[in-house]
């Protein structure tokens, strides 16, 4: 988030992308699109797919709808142009065509903004990819309110709710670039549809090394005896910040679990953790209705857990406008916001 300030800090010529028109002698505040996109370092889809292609995965093809650059698959497009299909701004055609491609022995990766993929394309995903149970990979980037002031049309706070009710579909949420890479690689041979709910690529890095991901798995990133925060996506980093603050300022020890597999959920871990506490928390950049909180709530209720769940996320309303960092603060989704909520609940418990 604070990474935006690199603009003001002067430029290292080595960090200017080759296709940028901005040179080191430009005003440090000047930027063009390639320079802006270079900030989305955590979107590792293209790099990961290049690696896999180099390692002999000839079946991988990439589809996008005029968003190959912002979703960072342009490197794949340049390296493997005969395996890259840009459909223009025609998402439904792209999704259905990816399904058709999958019937011919290819492994299509769709890389697109989440709101145009999961929300606009929901019916195509359901009928052409999931009903047919085809091995198509969808990487929906810029989920939640990461697009900030671009407004509601560019926000995606309903996609978890929509996608987790579609049979045959596995829904995973990588929280940073290493997680994207780990999730893609770990599930590469899964013979069914998969959706990766990714952020804008400017998230704080959580993982310093790749991990073996499991469909239905999670990672306990921090232990703590007082409560557990189950987090997805960008909220994982914020939850870790919150745990730090809670320990420092309130003497509260909160565990943090990265629930990178939203559907299926790691119910074993959720139940084991919830069983230790009277209160647990979920954190997601999504409407608290129908999304990750609901998935955890179902798990608790269906298993007779008396633990009280406190969902942290977007209220059941469209976001106000603002820069993303301001929005995370406004909605209490950043580290300070989560810490405040947790402290308040536990102190009144």
């Amino acid at each position: 988030m604070a990474a935006n300030n690199v603009y003001a800090q002067g430029r290292d010529p080595n960090e200017i992308p080759a296709d940028s028109t901005v040179k080191p002698d430009f005003d440090p505040k000047t930027w063009d699109m390639p320079l802006s996109l270079a900030l989305s370092q955590q979107l590792t889809t293209g790099r990961t797919l290049c690696e896999l292609a180099e390692q002999g995965r000839d079946d991988i093809v990439v589809c996008t709808a005029d968003l190959g650059r912002p979703t960072q698959v342009q490197d794949f497009a340049e390296r493997y142009p005969d395996r890259f299909f840009n459909f223009g701004i025609a998402e439904r055609n792209m999704i259905s065509a990816a399904a058709g491609l999958a019937t011919t022995g290819t492994l299509p990766f769709i890389s697109n903004y989440a709101f145009f993929l999961a929300l606009m394309g929901c019916e195509n995903i359901r009928n052409d990819i999931c009903y047919t149970d085809l091995p198509v990979r969808m990487v929906g980037t810029h989920s939640g309110i990461a697009m900030g002031f671009y407004g509601t049309s560019h926000h995606s706070c309903e996609d978890i709710g929509v996608l987790r009710t579609i049979p045959n579909l596995t829904l995973m949420a990588p929280c940073d670039g290493t997680a994207i890479r780990s999730l893609i690689r770990s599930t590469i041979d899964h013979p069914h549809p998969l959706y990766f709910r990714a952020g804008r690529g400017r998230e704080k890095q959580v993982y310093d090394q790749p991990f073996e991901a499991r469909i239905g798995g999670s990672n306990v990133l921090r232990d703590g005896g007082d409560t557990t925060i189950f987090a997805v996506g960008i909220e994982v980093a914020f939850a870790l910040d919150a745990a730090e603050q809670l320990s420092r300022d309130h003497g509260i020890e909160a565990a943090v679990v990265d629930c990178y597999s939203i559907r299926p959920l790691d119910t074993e871990t959720v139940l084991a953790r919830a069983g230790r506490h009277g209160h647990v928390f979920t954190a997601e950049e999504h409407n608290v209705t129908g999304g990750f909180a609901s998935a955890v709530a179902e798990t608790l209720a269906l298993n007779g857990m008396a633990t009280r769940l406190h969902p942290i996320g977007m209220p059941d309303a469209y976001s106000v406008l603002g820069p993303p960092t301001h929005l995370y603060q406004h909605y209490g989704l950043d580290g300070a916001g989560i810490a405040e909520r947790v402290a308040q609940v536990l102190k009144n418990a």
């Binding site: 439904r92 259905s96 058709g100 011919t104």
Partner: protein, 282 residues
């Protein structure tokens, strides 16, 4: 990419078209309602495709070099099932249980349940896009497979069709063939009254497709020539065959009536219809 054409006598194709219509009537009798109009209008097209032009292997339904047939107008799958059964993709007895509890054969085709069905459908407007993907995949694999998508004229109002139409020439898909079954009947009335999409030839041409008009979609010589041109004489562009057909063709009291888009024949009228079907088209 052109492929061999089987030398099939026209009388055999006519018999297959009769079989399709007969089985549509019988399956609808099991179900209690059916798309007679939409199924009868494509009987000759299906007969020519499957018995003369397409390369498929009933003993290996997922053979990777098979020609792919998808149905944008999936509600006419009732006409496809008799063909697949007759070719040996599955047992003809499946037809007797059409749409009954747990039957693989529903009103719309399901690729996971019906051997020989190349894709699932039911949501109109999707399958030309799917076929674009299939044609892209075939090209990438160096396969001789062609992707054929049968659409309805009512389907021409779906925006996604035109997204697909824009993309196919861009991708150079000369192995893609669209067929528009212009039977002029929709669910609410005549397609031209509901939402007129004419002139279709101009539209497809403007989108960069080769257009082959088929003046009478029930004349076997014309159907055969048009589809053979489309499949076996590619000119670098995707091809669309605009087939002028008659909804309900083959049963006089249904012909040309949108009212038989969906319906049911009582026992007496079923016998009348079957008798007319047995006589065949003139």
């Amino acid at each position: 990419m052109s492929r061999d054409v089987r030398n099939v006598d026209k009388s055999i194709l006519a018999e297959k078209a009769k079989m399709i219509r007969r089985d549509v009537v019988e399956q609808t009798d099991v179900c209690g309602s059916g798309h007679y109009g939409s199924a009868f209008s494509i009987a000759e097209i299906l007969a020519v495709l499957y018995y003369q032009l397409m390369h498929v292997r009933p003993d290996a339904p997922t053979w990777e070099d098979r020609d792919r047939f998808t149905m944008g107008k999936g509600h006419a799958a009732i006409a496809l099932y008799p063909v697949l059964a007759d070719l040996g993709f599955f047992d003809r007895s499946w037809l007797d249980n059409y749409t009954r509890l747990n039957s693989p054969l529903g009103d719309h085709p399901d690729m996971r349940k019906v051997p020989g069905a190349d894709f699932s459908s039911g949501s109109i407007g999707h399958n030309l896009s799917v076929s674009v993907g299939m044609a892209l995949g075939a090209k990438r694999n160096g396969s001789p497979a062609r992707a054929i998508c049968l659409m309805g004229d009512g389907e021409m109002t779906e925006g996604q069709v035109w997204e697909a139409a824009v993309s196919a020439p861009n991708f150079g898909l000369d192995n893609l063939v669209g067929i528009v079954d212009i039977n002029k009947a929709g669910s609410d009335g005549y397609t031209a009254d509901i939402m007129d999409t004419r002139p279709l030839a101009d539209k497809w041409q403007a989108f960069g497709w080769r257009v082959i008009p088929l003046a009478d979609g029930h004349d076997l010589d014309q159907v055969s020539n048009a589809l053979n041109d489309a499949l076996n004489r590619p000119d670098g562009r995707p091809t669309v065959v605009l087939a002028d057909t008659v909804a309900g063709k083959g049963v006089s009291f249904m012909e040309g009536y949108w009212q038989w888009h969906l319906g049911f024949l009582g026992p007496k009228d079923k016998e009348r219809a079957l008798a007319e079907i047995e006589k065949g088209l003139n």
